[in-house]
Chain length 208, copies 2
């Protein structure tokens, strides 16, 4: 019979186990905290090698969140996973436009994906912005184009789409874009990973 534990005990013990198994890394504390939360969410230690932080990327995200930045995600799953109370305490909110009717219509008209059109909608938001992509390479491809056109400038990009087609290529666009970023290199990622990275930043920014 599994031992009866309260939620806080489960989380503390989980982080103790995964920290021990993770072993030494060269990451500064604020990046290590993000990596650990991703491993906590996935039980996948490959992220020790896959998760890339641009220099100052985490700090850029923390500064933005402390200033009330909004988060835009490309899936309602990622939105569901982001800590709304934690973000609200910082003055921020999380958006996902994927289920909006105008997005579906524009995607049909433009023969593209809803995720790509979502990024165009995000470009109309005012205030600081963190873009967190956990699913659609097309979101990152559109984001890269919009940045080059000067239409959007996120404080931080979290690039963690998952899959087999255009995923690696879309992440490479972000690795070269010059905007602060956290990238799950390779094929792996997901809405859960994108949300976990957001939450690790939200908890740090909130002093948890």
């Amino acid at each position: 019979m599994p031992e009866h534990l309260l939620p806080e005990e489960i989380e503390a013990r989980s982080f103790a186990i995964l920290s021990a198994e993770l072993g030494e890394t060269s990451l500064p504390e604020e990046e290590l905290t993000v990596l650990k939360r991703v491993i906590h969410t996935t039980a996948d230690f490959e992220y020790k090698h896959n998760l890339y932080f641009s220099p100052g990327g985490v700090q850029a995200g923390l500064d933005a969140l402390k200033g009330g930045a909004a988060i835009v995600t490309d899936t309602n799953m990622a939105k569901a996973g982001v800590s709304k109370p934690g973000l609200a305490r910082l003055g921020g909110q999380v958006h996902c436009f994927m289920a909006d009717e105008d997005i579906a219509q524009a995607a049909r008209e433009q023969q593209t994906t809803r995720a790509a059109v979502s990024m165009e909608k995000a470009a109309h938001l005012t205030g600081e912005l963190i873009v967190a992509v956990g699913n659609a390479p097309t979101a990152l491809i559109a984001l890269d184009r919009l940045m080059k056109e000067g239409k959007i400038k996120p404080a931080l990009i979290i690039a963690a789409p998952v899959g087999f087609v255009n995923v690696v290529e879309s992440k490479e666009l972000i690795l070269g874009c010059g905007i602060p970023h956290i990238v799950a290199k390779g094929r792996k990622g997901g809405s859960n990973v994108a949300a976990a990275i957001c939450n690790a930043l939200i908890y740090q920014a909130g002093g948890r």
Copy 2:
């Protein structure tokens, strides 16, 4: 520059790539379809070895869904990931009680997790039920107790919590429970995996 592809082309090409890399398995077609959707969602081929189907488990799930069964999940992320249109076409709906105020209060009073109390609430639902757990071992532990007490009898259990504490143990309870099940053995799983398994069944049941 990544190639421009429509969403249907991306999905078809993704499944072609992952099927080729997956290679031969001994799984019947209806189980292989579930495995492929989990790999599509995670880009993680470990599920080839981790994903366990009890004999007749997939068929039990398909029969339940064709009869309009509801799905109960332990996270709003998993609920967000389940195909609501596909499920609605079969006459079903998806529930997650985690954010309900009565659940939070009962968990505090009983010194347990909201996920465990959610399973007690699920036991009061009428009609056929599929329980899909992507996060909380305590949900599976509570479910196992409720089944032994004769208070709930799901048509199928999808057991895919992720993590380091009580996760493996809770899955072993389900492997021995005698109710049809699909279990992501070991530490891995997640809300995305639980939702992917649900969707693979929903699409099959709907004849997609």
